[in-house]
């Protein structure tokens, strides 16, 4: 069992209603974290976080980074105490 800190921005925060929270995972993977988050917040979060077609994290207009500033993917491992940031990925204007 490991503990992961999830931090949310903009649209993610609107859906969760909190800026950050901890998840306890049996398996230390991004997939396990995503399953807990979508399980907790339901269809809106699932639509935002998951890509139905590719069965991976939705990459369109979103960005998920670990504390080293690297993008995380569903198959990545997570270490105890890691923080994952859920953000929108848009630029320009």
């Amino acid at each position: 069992m490991i503990t992961i800190n999830a931090q949310y921005q903009s649209r993610f925060r609107e859906i969760t209603g909190v800026e950050k929270e901890f998840f306890h995972l049996e398996q230390g993977t991004v997939a396990a974290l995503a399953a807990q988050i979508t399980g907790k917040y339901g269809p809106l979060m699932t639509a935002l976080l998951m890509d139905e077609d590719s069965k991976s994290l939705n990459s369109r207009g979103t960005l998920y980074l670990n504390s080293k500033g690297q993008r995380v993917y569903l198959e990545d491992d997570l270490n105890e105490g890691e923080t994952v940031f859920f953000m929108v990925g848009i630029a320009g204007g």
């Binding site: 649209r11 990459s59 960005l63 990925g89 848009i90």
Partner: protein, 654 residues
Amino acid sequence: MESRLLRVDLTTGECSVEVVPHAMFERWIGGSGINNWIMWEHFLTHDINCDPRGPDNIFVFGVGPLAGTGSGSGIKGRITFKSPCYGIFGDSAAGGKFPYMVRFAGFDYIAITGKAPRPVYLYLCDGEVEIRDAAHLWGKNTAEAHGALRQELGDYPSAAHTLTIGQAGEHQVGIAAVVSDASRIHARGGGGCVLGSKNLKAIAVQGSGGIRVDNPRGLLAWSRDFRQKIDQNEAIYGFKRRGTLGAVEMYQHIGSHFWRNNQGNMFRGEEVRSDNWVKKYHKYSEVCSADCYIACDGRYKIDGTESEKAKKYVGETFRRPEYLTTGSAAGALDLRDWAEVAHWGKVTNDYAIDNQDLSCSISFMMELEQRGLLSARDKGELFGRDQSLEWGNMEDVEALMHNIVHRENRFGDFFNDGPYWGALRYSEFKGENFMKYAIYGKGGASFTEEMRPFPTWMNNMAVASRGADHLKGIGLVEKFQRRDLSMKYFGRPEAADLTTPLLKGACTAVVENQVALLNSYGVCLFHWMLDPGGFTPEEYYGRAFAEITGIDRTPEELMRDGERICNLEKAFNSRLGLRREHDTVCERWMHEPCPEGMYPGKVASDMFETVLDEYYDWRGWDRKTGLQTASRLASLGLQDVAEVLAAEGALAPG
């Protein structure tokens, strides 16, 4: 494909209409591709080294074949000209209703040359054209001029839509912009200066026509599919309310803002780095172009309760600021209140001036003051007064903005072409080198985002045809570390890996080709950035292009079309003498370590030359000179362009 080009010679007052042949769309797709070709042909018979503020410069407005057809992919009109502030290729896009109304009025392209003897505006209505007196509009800002034209022209056969310049353009400020319907800005490159130099205050259109589409059923089916894809993307819901302001928190997190002339890369104000905008100011979302399934535009109205500073702007209402308006105000100038950021956006629109070059000109001065490099005498020489230059002080910002817009003292005159030329002129004036405090890339254009950790993004700043720019080779693959897209484009992951120079130059080249296509279709880039079509405009949007024009291309052929368009822009600059040494960026980006954020210590020089070499290799250009080769141009069907370059010594040897 049916399309009409209106030519206007303001010196003689002659107007003529040409049919744009179908073959032109086969070769140049439309929109920016055709604009570029119109300008290229013009400068085969006029001196390309002419003064961009003189009558020989050309101003082209064009709109691509997808725009206004109901495809739902947004609309961007494009202006193209020789840039007065950078002296190179210039173009700029903006949305709004003006572009499709030009089509409804019976035209797709407008090419303006010469100079009117007095202020005029151009009026187009259902195939008719008039050059009208604009004495009553001169001196008005863009909101006032648009309002006056609306009232004057009435609502028949449609409401009037306008393209106007403000006071900056009237004073021929090099970084002056052109504004569509008083709210959507063609900001970059100085198009407003070109119109001002021609005494053309505005173009007003009214129309009741339609747009012919080759296969309406096919387009409807494409449009339905597109709509579904947009609606399924939950991220777009957030984008509707925040627009590009959604980037503020993310940029703060990774350290990608541009703070105090890029001495830092994170906002300091608590308010401006929060999502308070949405809570306090957002009144409603709207669509900018009536042919867009996203509708990311928002509107604010300040009621004075939002903050202490907001009291000054009670009743002010305008478009929600986009990210770069915020980056220039809350970042470059360190304004810390949302009401001030919003006001900055409105005033720069009203004056019609590029907020990127303007903010970097002002922040250059503020940094000199911060470093104790300005004496009372220096300020007297520049401003004719003891000007305060305090970071985050809106009164100081507005005073300097006013100076540039009206070119009313030495500072206003030196910096009317942006921070590079301003710093150079000031250095020459003082006999001392201040260039290390000027932030710029190619052509002297500036840009208010942190670039140093992002090698593709930095390369874009050095090679973009219109000068340092984020919208030609958009660095999303790298900035958002899209390994999936790197695999898709190159079959390898490195384009998404910030720690290696590999595939960074390649990524600039590929995305530049894609964006050239999108700009030529005439669509809004946000739809593509939010990825409904799989980030492959040559496949997904290519189908809509085929339904509209009847030109059915393979994705490979379309990518070659995109590459052809980029090569014509490059050739234009090569004719003006640009070589490898001009594909560069400023000293701060090149050598000063990135001070903070998630990627501290990065400097452009770590990877710059390697990335640039790779970019030239992917383009098939000569590494040593940066020039195009005859063989690559021939493979793109550009032998005629190669001949022009060869005759002028602007083709790579061998």
